[in-house]
Amino acid sequence: MNDERVSPQLAEVIAEAKDHLAPGGIDWRRVDEGLSKRLDIEASRSRFSARHAVWPAVAAALSIAAGVVLVMGKPSREPTLEPVAAKPAQSASKVARVSGVLQINGAVSTTDMELAAGDRLEAEGQATFERPGQLLWALERGRAQIARAGAGVVVALEAGAIEADVVPVPQGEALGIDVGSIRVAVHGTHFRVSRQGDRVTVDLNEGTLSIGPAPRAGMTIGHVVTAPAHVTFDASAFEATFSAERDPSQVLPPIDLASGQKPEAALAAQTTPPESDTPAVKRTGRVHRPAPPTPERVPEIPSAAEPSRSPEQRIVSALRGCWAKQARPDSVQITITSSLTLQVSASGSVESAQFEPPLSPDLQTCAADAIYQSKFAAAGIVKIPIELK
C-alpha cells in the first residue's frame, strides 16, 4: 500500500496509529437512537407509504398523511416514491452542464443537482446553471456561494467570473452578484462579472444593471448602467474607483450559455486560478529580487534615452513589454488589472514588490529587473495600478 518511501520514524508512528488512533467511549445506543429519530423525520418528509419497521416503537409512531398502513416486516410495494433527499422548496438553480470539475460543498457534482441557499461552488472549468425560463448563468474557474435562493437569486462571487443571461422579472431583481458588500443586480440582461481579488470587471451586453452596496432588502441602489458598458471598480473602494465605459469595443463579447460555448477570452484573462495548497502550483504576488546579472543574463532595464519618465512609468512600460511577448490567440482581447505595491527604502531602492492580485509567474519574473532597478525620490510605500490589454 505504501508505495513511496517514508522515514522510519514516521512509519513507526503510522503503524501504531493504524491500530490505536481511534475514538474511545462512543455511546452507540445514543447514536442509534439519534439516527433513528432523524431517519423517521426523513421518512415522514418523503411519500413512502410503507416501510420495514426495524424499531417497532418508532414504526408504530409513524403516521403518513396518505393513510397507508404500515405492515411489520413487509417491504413496501407502493411505486410512488419521492426522492429521499429533501430539497428546499425553491431551488436557486440546477446544474445544467459541467466542463471540467464542479464541486458543491466540497463534493464533486453532476448535472441536474439543485442548488440551495448556502451551497458553496467551486468550478475548475465552466459550470452552467439554469432556472428554466428565468436564468441561465455560468461560473468560470472560480468560487461562489449561493447567498439567496428565492424569487431573486443572489450569488456571492469569491473568485473567477460569472456570466449570466437573465429574463426580466416584473418586480425585484432576478439575479444579484455580490462582490464583498457590492451587488451587481440584474433586471434582465446578458452580462459578465469577473473578480480578481477586489478588482471587479463587469461587461454588459444587453439590458440594465444596478451596481451598488448590497441592500439588506429591496432594490440595489447605486449606479444604473445600460448596455453596452464595460465597468471596473475596486470592491474595497467602490465609489472612488467606479468607472464605466460605453465604447462597445471595450465590452467583452457574450458567450452562448445555452450551447455551452467555452469562454476562451474569459478563461485566458483569468490570471488568478482557484486556490490550491499544493506548493508546486501556489501563486503569490510577491516579486522576487532577480539574481545578480551574469555575463549570460542581460537584465531588461528601461532605456536611458527616456530620463523624463518616472520610475512608475518605466515599470509599467516594462510590464507591457513583457505582456506583449506572451502568446495569445489573435482573436482574443484580454485585459488584466492588478495593483503593484512597492516598499521603497531611504536610498530610493525597491526593497520588496507585490502584485495584488498576482500576475502569472512568467510576467512577474520578466518585470522583476525593471522593478528592482528603479530608483524613487523618496522612501515609503508606492502603489502602481496596472492595466494590461
Binding site: N2, S7, P8, Q9, H20, G25, I26, L35, L81
Partner: protein
Amino acid sequence: MNDEPERRIHPDVTAAALDLRSSFVRVPSASPLTVTHTDEATLLARAAEGDRAAFQAIYERHRSDVARLVFRMVGRAADLEDVIQEVFIQVFRSLRDFRGQAKFSTWLHRVTVNVVLMHRRAQKSRPTYTDDSAVETTRTSELGPDEDADRRERMRAFARCLDRLAEKKRLVFVLHELEGVPAAEIAQIVGAPVLTVRTRLFYARRELEAMLAEEPVLSNLRGTFSKQAPEEGGTP
C-alpha cells in the same frame, strides 16, 4: 418455501446459516456466513428502496469504520457522534444514487469525507485533540500501565501533528496511510487527479516528518518497530 421472517429478510443466507436462525435475527456485522459481496449488494438495493432492516444492517456493518475515519479527520470526540449520524443520514438520502459502479466502501468514504468537510466549515474552527478520552488505547496483555500511558501520549502527539496539516493534505494522508485507501480511490473520493493526490501525500509526509521532531514523545522514536521500514532512510 418456508415463509419465515428470517428468510424473508435474508433471502441469500445459506442453509447452513439458517440452521442458526434461532440464535440471531438480524444480519451480524462481522459474521463470516453473511459477509459476501452478493449480500451487501442485496442489502444496498433493498436499503435504497427504503428497507429499514437492510439499512440497519449496512449501518451496523460500517459504523465503526465510519467512526474511526471521522475521528481521524475531525478529532474532537464531542462532535463525533453527531457527525456519524449525519454521515448515515446522507447515506440514507443518497443511496438511490449509488449505482454500484464503484465499491460501496469508496462511495461511503466519499460521503464521509463530504460530511466531515461540511461539518468543519460549519464549525469554522480547527479541531483540538485535548480530550484524554478522545484517544483510545487498547490495553493488551503485553502492555503495562506505563507503556499504555506512553502510547496514549504518542497518539495524542501524533493527533496534534495531524491537526496542523492543511485540510487537503490531512485528508489524503489519513485515507492513504491510516485507512489504507489506494491513491486512485482517494482521487475518486476527493475529486482530484491521482497526481494531485500523490503530491499532497508527498508534502503531508514531509511536513509530518518535520513535526515529529518537535514532539518530544515522537522525536525519540528510532523506527525500530517499523512494519514498513524503507530500504533507505530519510525523506523522499
